[in-house]
Subunit: 204 residues, 2 copies
Amino acid sequence: MERTKPLEMEFWFDFGSSYSYLSVMRIEQAATRHAVKVSWQPFLLGPIFQSFGWNSSPFVLQKEKGEYVQKDMARQCEKYGIPWKMPSQFPRLAVLPLRVMLVAENQPWAPEFAKLVMMSNFHLDRDINSRDVIAALLTELDQPAADIVGQAQTEPIKNRLRKQTEIAKDRQVFGAPTFFVRGEMFWGNDRLDDALLFASAQSS
Amino acid sequence: MERTKPLEMEFWFDFGSSYSYLSVMRIEQAATRHAVKVSWQPFLLGPIFQSFGWNSSPFVLQKEKGEYVQKDMARQCEKYGIPWKMPSQFPRLAVLPLRVMLVAENQPWAPEFAKLVMMSNFHLDRDINSRDVIAALLTELDQPAADIVGQAQTEPIKNRLRKQTEIAKDRQVFGAPTFFVRGEMFWGNDRLDDALLFASAQSS
């Protein structure tokens, strides 16, 4: 069969999600290795959890799992060589930086911005929903911070993030990170390599 | 530091658990590769879920996750070269074969029995809580089936399985499979290799 599309993988993430942290830090290098293009898909996990009747993360609602996840995250970060410090607030709201990711769509600095946001949350324990924190990260990337933060607060961008979350719900996303390759769903950082292998397989 | 104990890993499992299926099929070969001894620890996942206020598996209670898990299990089984057929009844009660595992403690045929039980559930779609099914598997292993099934139904063995489940709860086990190495918990088939690496590391 003729190949009509480049190899691509959708990456659905929320900056408040701990296992999304691992994938944000790893994905560009891993995808390059498999010659797969990453399509970054920000969304809000909170409304998805609310649709299940949960008022917070399962890591908060289920004490045993929550305590385990802290140990698991520390070990996983050590394995991947990523710094880790449990945020003093969890899960953190990340509406502003997720909106910035929509402004940054297809910009070469977007993946680097995502990494800086994640490091701010899970290593430096900063409030990633703060205008000042996000503006500083954009400045660090030589981007016009005030312009971009301004755009991120416009109605079209606000609506796009709402729409993203609706799409995630319609596609039965129930957690983050979630990867889609040719319509197939892969859930969790532990499936990143499987998803990339599936994406790079020629047959479709 | 002097090493006083052989390298060992506890493996907590329920024959009704789909991800326990993957680990039961893989664990002996993987552990041998790491020169780690497996300590098989049967328990009932149902009472653990009930203690969280759930009346079934999260794969049943949460439709989106349940549908995903079927696809994920099919892919994982293909990856590991293990046959897979979604059981017509899920989760299946597995009280009898879990009790047999306690009778079989430290017997060389125990891991092979565990594999046969899992294949009966997740490949052949048989009722693994049936006396006839379990007796047939024991006969296949040249074991005295009537004797063993009889022993499995005695009060001391029934109490031991209850006790196992209590120990799991006290140790904050919240799912299966769960591995313990030197007191550290590792949850899920995806952590089997990490747990074995941790077990085979000399420093403690």
